[in-house]
């Protein structure tokens, strides 16, 4: 055995093999310090001093989840900005919606986030702020009141944590509403589902005629929450959830929540949702064709779905068969509460080397005049800025935009989506419980008890 050690041939093979394996494991375990790729490594670009720089250029990275036309718009506007500023260069990077939620959280937690990141405000942003990962923008905004006052006042709510503002708006307003197939309603002589009684009547009649009354994407869970949240607001106003958002112990026990869940189970008992709704996925846009083909009569969804109808079924939209209305009223005093979001946000991470440069970019690019115009005319959206009525009127999809703008502007309060108010942990627990109530694995009372318990156990 020992004499084998003298054999050079063995080492001639072994040493390269070993070094190759070691290099491979180094790459695999993510410490590829020698990666010389021309692609900027995500997030690390901002923290490393760039080689061969002329003067001092701040290189900033931006993470966003926009797709298609809105993504192109941001890329174009960013290019313009980079040409105009030799000392600030911003590189946007794009991610898919669902994986992004994990990615941003983990990169913030691990301390290598991008300079500017997209978020939805609300509970998750508050989580980041509590961990000290986000720059407080209040002083920047107060120093430039012209910029701050360009936006509608309600836009700052979701980006505000403990009275300080941590994000600037970047996208159009959205609201949740009820779409319905007008042709079906005409055929069966039904009134538009503007009140709960009308809706129940429509459910009965459509069901009797072998049509699924309501389309619902149960696999995605949050479409079920649209029903629970709107019914709660329609039965008990916004104060019900305000208590929950403040974290008051036992606040899930409000009778309005219990009743809202019972209403949902009543719909389930009536067979209101299409067969197989539990396996339908909102990310795959599987419900629009049900409405378009007349297989289902109604769907409660976000205003962003309108552009899907517009893009994929232009003839259906043109024919005027796509009806839309605010969520049906129950108690008139709570009839005009809207559920939606004034915008989504860009925030600056505390790890950014140059927050001033990032702020300069945000002020000049995010929802600047060009973007506002494009959002209105090309994307059919409603940017959260003041005095856009005339521009909306000139848009190709003016009817829907003006209607939605009216709903959101008229609402005494626009309530943010529940799962955006709550911490990520509570939000997921709520969604899981709601989906169990819909398939009757759980009673409304059990959901209430579980959520009270979860809230008490949540880390403060």
């Amino acid at each position: 055995m020992e004499k084998n050690l003298k054999k050079p041939s063995f080492y001639r093979v072994l040493v390269p093999a070993l070094s190759g394996i070691l290099a491979m494991s180094a790459i695999l375990s993510g410490c590829g310090s020698a990666s010389q790729s021309s692609q900027p490594a995500s997030g690390s670009d901002s923290t490393s001093s760039s080689g061969g720089k002329t003067g001092s250029v701040s290189k900033l990275t931006l993470w966003d989840i926009q797709t298609q036309d809105s993504q192109k718009l941001i890329v174009d506007e960013t290019d313009k900005f980079n040409k105009a500023h030799s000392d600030i260069q911003v590189t946007p990077q794009w991610f898919q919606n669902d994986p992004y939620k994990d990615k941003i959280r983990i990169s913030l937690g691990a301390g290598n986030p991008p300079d500017i990141f997209y978020n939805w405000g609300g509970g998750p942003l508050a989580d980041y702020v509590k961990a000290g990962d986000v720059v407080d923008l209040t002083s920047y905004l107060n120093a430039d009141s012209a910029y701050k006052n360009k936006f509608i006042d309600s836009v700052w709510g979701p980006a505000t944590v403990d009275g300080k503002i941590y994000g600037v708006p970047t996208e159009g307003s959205a609201g949740e509403l009820l779409y319905y197939n007008k042709a079906l309603f005409k055929k069966y002589n039904l009134d538009p589902p503007t009140t709960w009684d009308n809706l129940l009547k429509a459910v009965k009649v459509l069901k009797d005629n072998g049509i699924a009354p309501i389309a619902l994407e149960g696999k995605s869970q949050w479409p079920e929450m649209i029903w629970v949240q709107y019914l709660t607001a329609r039965l008990g106003g916004t104060q019900v959830f305000d208590k929950i958002a403040k974290g008051e112990p036992g606040s899930w026990s409000d009778p309005a929540i219990l009743k809202a869940l019972q209403y949902c189970q009543q719909l389930v008992d009536m067979g209101a949702f299409q067969t197989g709704y539990t396996s339908l996925d909102a990310d795959k846009n599987e419900s629009e064709p049900l409405i378009v083909t007349g297989k289902a009569g109604m769907i409660a969804q976000g205003s962003w779905v309108y552009s899907n109808f517009q893009t994929n079924y232009p003839d259906f939209v043109k024919s005027g068969d796509l009806g839309y209305t605010a969520f049906p009223t129950i108690d008139p005093q709570y009839g005009d509460i809207a559920v939606g979001a004034p915008s989504s946000y860009y925030s600056i991470s505390s790890k950014s080397k140059n927050p001033e440069a990032a702020m300069t970019y945000l002020k000049e690019v995010s929802l600047n005049d060009d973007e506002v115009t494009a959002y209105i005319n090309k994307l059919g959206a409603i940017p959260p800025v003041k005095n856009i009525d005339d521009q909306l009127k000139a848009s190709p999809t003016a009817d829907f935009q003006i209607w939605l703008h009216g709903i959101i502007a008229k609402a005494p309060t626009v309530q943010l989506y529940w799962d955006q108010y709550l911490s990520a942990t509570l939000a997921k627990q709520l969604l899981d419980n709601i989906s169990k109530v819909f398939i009757k694995q759980e009673t409304p009372q059990q959901l209430v008890d579980n959520m009270n318990k979860n809230m008490a156990a949540a880390p403060k």
């Binding site: 494991s25 959280r105 696999k219 297989k295 989906s435």
Partner: protein
């Protein structure tokens, strides 16, 4: 004695495997054990909470529900896959051009990624526009909606069938090579004695395949214990919690609710369970004693 055996050369040859083993198995396991004693949301500094995660997870009905479903998947997967793999493997072990062509087609599911398979199946089973529904409506002319993934009672069995469809080819491959390794002389001797084909199967083939059966079963059972991808893509544990197996519950806890402490607790529990399972299987079947299966031994 040990040092004499483990000379430098042998040690050097072991290094690459050891590096991988420590980096990708030992270190993550210990890291998970360590994390299970903290409250960690991935953002703030982790807080030491001692055994709080363990007491809360091990008293949680959700976990026992998930463990129950996992056991069901394990037992049923084994019961469905083993006989089928064995039969098909024996059939394909015969030498003929026909079986070669069949094998090539038959092993294709092995080549696809599980996530892609999941998406394909979700389209096949879609109750509104799917292939299965189209067959029921247009060919069988039945007024019946097959909601195989949306029905709380059917979903787990649907998943077990899909998982079986995915993995039977792999186990078939094991049985095929196992069957080809059985010495022909045994069958020749049996033929001289004039035994029936049933007796041949029962007294020669199955005993000779004992090690293959154990290997295949260990892979099957530990694989089912940690099975995740197709269930995640197809149902995400739903409807409600009807298909919420333990691996999915771990993922949900850690990466959807951002509770890395309890998530790690479930992960460690799964690891221990898997190790015990493999140990018990290997010990009770005498597989570890490496008994020779050959004639005249």
């Amino acid at each position: 004695m040990l040092f004499k055996r483990l000379n430098l050369k042998l040690f050097l040859l072991l290094v690459p495997a050891l590096v991988f083993f420590f980096a990708f198995i030992i270190y993550p396991v210990f890291d998970a054990v360590y994390t299970s004693f903290f409250q960690s949301d991935g953002l703030s500094k982790p807080v030491w909470v001692g055994f709080a995660n363990w007491t809360s997870e091990l008293s949680s009905p959700t976990i026992y529900h998930a463990l129950g479903l996992t056991l069901l998947v394990m037992v049923l997967s084994w019961a469905v896959q083993t006989p089928l793999s064995l039969v098909i493997g024996l059939f394909l072990s015969r030498e003929s051009r026909f079986t070669t062509v069949l094998s090539i087609f038959y092993f294709t599911p092995l080549l696809f990624s599980a996530a892609a398979l999941g998406i394909a199946w979700s389209y096949i089973l879609n109750p509104n526009f799917g292939l299965v529904q189209a067959v029921i409506t247009n060919i069988l002319h039945l007024h019946y909606v097959a909601d195989l993934l949306g029905n709380t009672h059917a979903v787990l069995f649907t998943l077990i069938v899909i998982i079986a469809w995915e993995f039977i080819p792999f186990h078939t491959l094991l049985y095929q090579s196992g069957a080809r390794a059985i010495p022909v002389s045994l069958y020749e001797a049996a033929q001289l004695d004039g035994v029936t084909s049933w007796t041949r199967l029962w007294h020669i083939t199955i005993p000779q395949l004992k090690n293959t059966i154990v290997t295949s079963s260990v892979i099957m059972l530990t694989g089912s214990l940690t099975y995740f991808d197709i269930i995640f893509v197809l149902t995400n544990g739903g409807p409600g919690d009807s298909s919420d197996v333990i691996a999915l519950e771990m993922y949900k806890t850690a990466f959807q609710q951002y509770q890395f402490g309890p998530g790690s607790t479930i992960a460690v529990t799964m690891t221990v369970f898997g190790l015990l399972l493999s140990l018990v299987l290997v010990k009770t079947t005498g597989f570890s004693r490496m008994e020779s299966q050959m004639e005249g031994a």
